[in-house]
């Protein structure tokens, strides 16, 4: 009947973080990379909420995660607009196809 401690939650958030990083590094689709970023941010936000329950961080943790959610939404909006713009110019969203810039 013991309650779940902080460590299982932290482990889940570590899984989120790692999956996000792997996703960011392996995906060639621009939007796929953005999904990886969302996973990483989500892992961080789960960390904050976990700490808000189990450490003296208290309510601050929840405030942090609220701001993270809002900022992530803003970032996603701009990223998506840029991705669409890229698509309009290149007719693909494959990051590797962008090869105008090199040297």
């Amino acid at each position: 009947m013991e309650a779940v401690g902080p460590n299982p939650f932290l482990f889940v958030s570590a899984v989120l973080f790692v999956c996000g990083v792997v996703c960011m590094t392996t995906k060639r689709n621009g939007i796929g990379v953005l999904m990886g970023v969302e996973l990483v941010l989500n892992g961080a936000s789960l960390n904050f909420v976990t700490f808000s329950k189990f450490t003296p961080l208290g309510l601050d943790g929840q405030v942090f995660s609220l701001f993270v959610i809002v900022l992530a939404a803003a970032e996603a909006a701009v990223a998506l607009a840029i991705a669409l713009n890229f698509y309009n110019n290149h007719l693909t969203i494959d990051v590797d196809r962008g090869d105008e810039l090199h040297g």
């Binding site: 701001f67 803003a74 701009v78």
Partner: protein, 539 residues
């Protein structure tokens, strides 16, 4: 009156009487954004050119920041944290706010001269520009981990959009996509680090964090302790985010692409302004690790050594890659990376010197010199780099090219712009009597002092010196093209030179010379800033 009532009264008092006033420069900029957008919508008012509104706002912000800085220096207002500890009002922060609003004025003027946003898009462009500047200002005075992250985000997100501002161009959209993808990733990693730090210390406030890091690590805990390792991991993750903003070695790859794809004005803005904000933040964050606790100081020290190695690598890499470039914006981007390396040496020396007390050296005064050198370098860098980018964009408007070989023989057609480029380049290399010389000198001397604490700093110093010599070779290529090669027949000629572009460039170049010939007044000012910062955190 009950508890919550008196709490509200106290908060209301503090917010309206102190905090809002201290936040005035940012508030003016925020108001400018709203005004610009309102002017565009309202009938009748939409005839007012947006850039004048933006310029007015930037001037207002600069004036307010100047006033505040003045009052801080004279001691009329004591340094304090405001908005219940969210931001810090001190000489360092206020100097950077002043610096950034000055830079905003210069950038807006430049865009007016080169006409990069057309009439329709002006409001959008200046909104992004000012929004990004507000983010940097917040970054420079952040006193709380949340404000630190918000500052980074508020700086980055509008700048992603700015890089992609020329939206019809393939290069521009590609640059923006690369920038946003890497940038968002770095921000995510940074946030994860912040979450670990906040969880460990149970607070978001950075001074509290510094104090509590000592509390949670027992005196003799080494790297084997899980807590110390977590602190190290978290610190590294935060540094990844900052290193990305600063384009430090393994995280620099976005920089050349983003700069080449973006308009030269935007590239100039990003190269200086985002560095200024990020370095201020890095200094504050780094100082959190210079605790009196031996274990935490050890962590800070290892960060210092690590940053030193990275700084040497960054400078070397930047200079080596710049050598083969044919596009001038790309070359300047690599040179930006190299300069970030030099400036990072100052931070590295700061962290190493701060550890000096632990090994029995009195390095108090030398730590101050690091911050002084960093500020001096940034201040010179503002003018020399903006100058270079301004000349690139002015010439681009005439010859429609940014390749170095198209600059051949330009000196005969536009002597003023080319002379400006000469000054900027000499300063970028670090030749006397330019400002860049003194800047490098102060930083290198600080690194030299740091060699007493650890031998690795000798390597850093050596790398810095060799790089300075090496950088001469590729910078000189620009001058060679301009002054020695002859203009090919049939090449597009440059029609106007002196007015207004030339005047602007000369105005920017004046401080470069001034800072080089009369450095004393400035170094004293910057020394005071460093002094105030270190006294304030009690080191």
């Amino acid at each position: 009156m009950n508890d919550i009532g008196s709490l509200v009264v106290r908060l209301l008092d503090e917010t309206t009487k102190t905090s809002v006033g201290l936040f005035a420069p940012e508030l003016v900029l925020s108001g400018t954004i709203v005004l610009m957008l309102a002017f565009r919508v309202l009938p009748g008012l939409n005839r007012i050119p947006t850039q004048w509104v933006a310029l007015l706002g930037a001037f207002g912000s600069f004036a307010l920041a100047l006033c505040q800085f003045d009052r801080l220096v004279t001691g009329e207002i004591p340094p304090t944290s405001f908005f219940t500890g969210m931001l810090m009002f001190d000489q360092l922060g206020t100097f950077f706010r002043m610096f950034l609003s000055l830079f905003l004025i210069l950038t807006i003027t430049l865009t007016v001269l080169t006409g990069i946003p057309d009439r329709d898009d002006a409001a959008d462009f200046y909104t992004l520009l000012i929004g990004s500047t507000i983010g940097m200002m917040i970054m420079a005075s952040a006193n709380h981990l949340l404000m630190m992250f918000m500052g980074v985000e508020m700086t980055s997100v509008p700048s992603y959009a700015m890089v992609g501002f020329l939206k019809g161009r393939k290069k521009s959209s590609e640059a923006a996509l690369k920038y946003v993808v890497y940038g968002a990733g770095a921000a995510g990693v940074m946030l994860y680090g912040i979450s670990l730090l906040a969880g460990l210390t149970g607070t978001g406030s950075m001074p509290d964090m510094a104090q509590r890091l000592g509390m949670i690590v027992s005196q003799n805990a080494g790297i084997g302790d899980a807590t110390v390792r977590t602190i190290l991991l978290a610190g590294l993750m935060v540094l990844v985010g900052l290193a990305f903003k600063l384009s430090i070695f393994p995280f620099h790859f976005w920089c050349p692409d983003a700069f080449e794809g973006a308009a030269a004005e935007v590239a100039g803005f990003l190269s200086v302004a985002s560095k200024a904000g990020a370095f201020a933040l890095l200094v504050r964050f780094g100082l959190s690790f210079t605790s009196t606790s031996a274990a935490v100081s050890e962590v800070g020290f290892s960060f210092g050594i690590g940053l030193g190695v990275l700084a040497a690598a960054t400078a070397t890499f930047g200079n080596l890659s710049a050598y083969g470039q044919t596009n001038i914006k790309r070359m300047l981007a690599y040179s930006t990376i190299a300069h970030a390396g030099y400036m990072l040496m100052a931070v590295s020396a700061l962290l190493v010197l701060a550890h000096g007390k632990q090994v029995g050296l009195d390095t108090q005064g030398e730590a101050r010199r690091c911050i002084e050198g960093l500020i001096y370098y940034l201040f010179v860098y503002l003018f020399m780099n903006l100058g270079a980018f301004a000349i690139v964009s002015l010439i681009r408007n005439q010859i429609f090219s940014e390749e170095i070989e198209d600059y051949n023989g330009l000196a005969t057609q536009c002597p003023v712009l080319c002379f400006g480029m000469l000054l900027c380049v000499f300063s970028l290399v670090g030749l006397p009597p330019m400002g860049g010389f003194w800047a490098k000198l102060v930083i290198f001397s600080a690194v030299f002092k740091a060699t007493a604490v650890h031998w690795v700093m000798w390597g850093v110093l050596g790398a810095g010196a060799i790089n300075t010599v090496f950088s001469l070779f590729y910078y000189i290529r620009i001058l060679k093209a301009m002054y020695i090669k002859s203009r090919p027949a049939g090449a597009r000629s440059v029609r106007y030179d002196l007015f207004p572009g030339g005047v602007f460039v000369l105005l920017i170049c004046l401080p470069i010379l001034g800072l080089g010939i009369l450095p004393q007044g400035f170094t004293d000012k910057f020394h005071n800033i460093a002094d105030a910062l270190l006294t304030q955190i009690g080191r």
